[in-house]
């Protein structure tokens, strides 16, 4: 992890040094562009993060967990997908919830659907990176393109295990 963090900080220094070495105003232009983006992104980011944190506290995850743990089959897959969509928290809380589901005997397809949905719809990521860097038209296109993936992931596991049991394995 710390090596990855290091890369995030070293990469702009290296690329910036290269820009400076070209002596053609690339460095200044790059900085101005970064500053422009900063001015536009950061005020929104602060509001979005604060809002998402409050929302994370309001979503009744324990209440949802009952439903995810009790049922199997397609119903559990759909509830798992929906739960992953509604949990707007970071990976620590989301994976803790997923691990609790697993311990409580939730079906593997339901857990996989939950993790898939959370991975694709993480609110922090959408607010901090996706909307500022790519804009709403891309967000709309992406959400429509991936909306079926969480239940599809769970269903693929159901089909696979069904085929295995048919083959007598």
């Amino acid at each position: 992890m710390s090596i990855m963090m290091l890369i995030i900080y070293i990469a702009p220094i290296l690329v910036g040094a290269y820009a400076l070495s070209r002596r053609d105003k690339s460095f200044q232009q790059g900085l101005v562009r970064g500053l422009e983006q900063f001015t536009i992104i950061v005020p929104r980011m602060i509001c979005a993060l604060i809002g998402a944190e409050f929302m994370a506290m309001l979503v009744p995850t324990e209440f949802i967990s009952q439903f995810l743990g009790t049922d199997a089959g397609m119903v559990a897959i759909l509830i798992g997908s929906l739960a992953g969509l509604l949990v707007p928290s970071g990976p620590v809380i989301s994976f803790s919830i997923a691990a609790t589901f697993a311990d409580a005997g939730a079906s593997v397809p339901a857990i996989v659907s939950f993790i898939t949905a959370w991975s694709l719809f993480t609110a922090h990521r959408i607010f901090i990176y996706e909307i500022p860097l790519l804009g709403l038209s891309f967000l709309r296109l992406r959400l429509i393109s991936v909306i079926i993936l969480p239940p599809l992931a769970g269903t693929l596991i159901l089909i696979w295990t069904g085929m295995l049991s048919l083959a007598g394995l």
């Binding site: 990855m4 963090m5 890369i7 995030i8 990469a11 690329v15 910036g16 290269y18 820009a19 690339s26 232009q29 790059g30 900085l31 101005v32 562009r33 970064g34 422009e36 900063f38 001015t39 536009i40 992104i41 950061v42 005020p43 929104r44 509001c47 979005a48 993060l49 604060i50 809002g51 998402a52 944190e53 409050f54 309001l58 990976p91 994976f95 997923a98 697993a102 857990i111 996989v112 993790i115 898939t116 990521r125 607010f127 901090i128 990176y129 860097l133 790519l134 804009g135 709403l136 038209s137 891309f138 296109l141 992406r142 429509i144 393109s145 991936v146 993936l149 599809l152 992931a153 596991i157």
Partner: protein, 204 residues
């Protein structure tokens, strides 16, 4: 393309007026939507959960912001330099060459091996998007990164969910980015990567 997007033309001088426009853009309509969202959620939190939970949420917010801000600054500086330095014509040809199924497979592989979390994946996506990469490739890349990114699988899936469930999820997710990319290619919605300030100005 505006003159500012063309690397052959020098960018316009940054007059005072330009920065005022920029500030207007940064506090434009969508800023107030986010501010309203935070205000409504904060008020709900205060009413439903009480002042103690409210203040603990505020503390967590501030810590999180302090942790994230340096990474956002680094990511934006990197994106800014790359934006200026990138040989756009050659890069467009490169990403434009991969449009079919091969492109989706390459996008998925790139998503799996991208290091450094969202602070590197999203700026990269913005760069290839503005260079004219196919929409299917963009969606396949970010879907692959979100579901299969090797760093995330090793750091989060494996410790929390164990080897067996992680392997199952990884294998079953392998076709998903390509499916998402194929769907994206068939959605005829308009897609613009225009500058945020220009989008703001375009609003009534």
């Amino acid at each position: 393309m505006t003159t500012a997007d063309n690397p052959n033309n020098p960018r316009p001088a940054y007059t005072r007026n330009r920065w005022i426009t920029l500030l207007q853009a940064s506090f434009g309509l969508s800023f107030w939507l986010f501010a309203g969202f935070a205000l409504v959620m904060g008020t709900l939190c205060y009413i439903v959960l009480g002042p103690v939970a409210f203040s603990s949420a505020v503390t967590k917010d501030l810590q999180q912001l302090l942790g994230i801000l340096p990474r956002v600054v680094a990511a934006l500086a990197l994106a800014g330099f790359i934006w200026i330095l990138m040989p756009r014509d050659r890069f467009s040809q490169l990403v434009g060459r991969y449009r079919g199924f091969t492109g989706l497979v390459l996008a998925e592989m790139a998503g799996i091996i991208t290091p450094g979390g969202p602070a590197s994946a999203f700026p990269f996506l913005a760069i290839i998007g503005r260079a004219g990469a196919d929409r299917g490739i963009l969606v396949a890349y970010i879907t692959s990164w979100a579901l299969l990114g090797i760093q995330r699988v090793l750091v989060w899936d494996l410790p929390f969910m164990g080897a067996e469930l992680t392997t199952t999820r990884f294998l079953v997710s392998l076709p998903l980015p390509i499916i998402a990319g194929l769907i994206a290619q068939r959605i005829p919605l308009p897609l613009s990567f225009g500058e945020p300030q220009q989008q703001e100005q375009g609003r009534p």
